[in-house]
Point group: C2
Chain length 251, copies 2
Amino acid sequence: MSANVPTDIRFSFSGLIKRGGETADHKDGWGIAFYEGKGYRSFHDPIASADSAVAKFIQGYPIKSTAVICHIRKANRGRVCLENTHPFSRELWGITWSFAHNGQLKGIKNKQLNHYQPVGTTDSEYAFCWMLGQLKKTFPEKPKQKKEIRLVIDRLCREIATLGVFNMLLSDAANLYVYCSTKLSWITRQAPFQEAQLKDADVSVDFKNETSIDDVVTVIATEPLTTNEEWVQMGRNEFMVVSLGKQVPHR
Amino acid sequence: MSANVPTDIRFSFSGLIKRGGETADHKDGWGIAFYEGKGYRSFHDPIASADSAVAKFIQGYPIKSTAVICHIRKANRGRVCLENTHPFSRELWGITWSFAHNGQLKGIKNKQLNHYQPVGTTDSEYAFCWMLGQLKKTFPEKPKQKKEIRLVIDRLCREIATLGVFNMLLSDAANLYVYCSTKLSWITRQAPFQEAQLKDADVSVDFKNETSIDDVVTVIATEPLTTNEEWVQMGRNEFMVVSLGKQVPHR
């Protein structure tokens, strides 16, 4: 999620966590990361989100955030344990970057790492460490032009995606970088707001009652989270940057 | 806390969080970090721990861990916000390091940083970034001898402590590095276990019912957390390393 005002993710979260063991089999751990200004906090549990007490707590606890990344894991590479649970995070240029990924990457571990080392054993964390290391090598200091960063991330994503499936979310608090290798959809909600009905739970919300007229919120998910809204399916190998709820033209 | 078996911190935590706004005025945010194997997860809230719903949740949720760092903040340098809330964490050598500090450090920001940059504005996070950067500069790869790491951390702590008050906890999952500039106490609990009574809350526990005969648990705190046990007060500028619940001779 990316939003122009601190926004509560609980509606989307309530649908997504069902896919961790209830409406889908992504039951090998889950995590969620919230940006509050430059601040960052994350919650992880190496068990099915549908059964997680931490997930239940988050569902009832409204953290307002302008950027959120949430992931429910279906393990392929790397055993089920806390250190293999997304989102992963590292600091670059005094900013906490976070990362979540669906897919498999054949041979990613042949790539040379520099500044960052994985703690766990997933392909995903390795790819994140490599990507952030390349970014740091390209720009030892944060470049003034945001566009430069976007172009490098786009290029790095395309390079990784040649190794397999790389559906990815990456954030530096201000921006949400999205790479769709095979499957991601998004929706932007803004005035006039309407009612939305979750796909995975019998829950609906009328955003008219929850929002102000100027709010803009974009949600990206592997599969649409609601049944009565128009989600846009991303194309293969499409890269997108969202900032404060809106897509940023990046070329 | 450092323990030789995954141990539940809830008893000590229940006392400590009272000091965040109830029995003491460290009410400017709090955080707790748990190691589960190599895995790391932390919970932060930029409000008083005595009022925090996250703290209440943690109090009722038994996370078993061999190393825990918890901090309740009394702000002096750096405003009250999420990014200024301890413990701080960074990855070095594929290990998540975490850090919490009480005290003020005059002129710490004159020290040259290299690999790590602070996200927030506290002296503490700056000191942590400097320390970890020095460690990485000294040992680009993790040295085989643990003793080498201990000696360098000891030296770095002494250098920082010349700038003011530096009561510190640092962990790399396997070890808890403790530096007492002015005020820290510790206790090691092992068989025969006895009952303990919290100082800040009307709560007691009989550790005989909670432990196995081989368990060894060391707890370090600014001030003793219980009233009926013998805590050992650390000396000024004393450095200590605890691993799996036991002090490690480090020289």
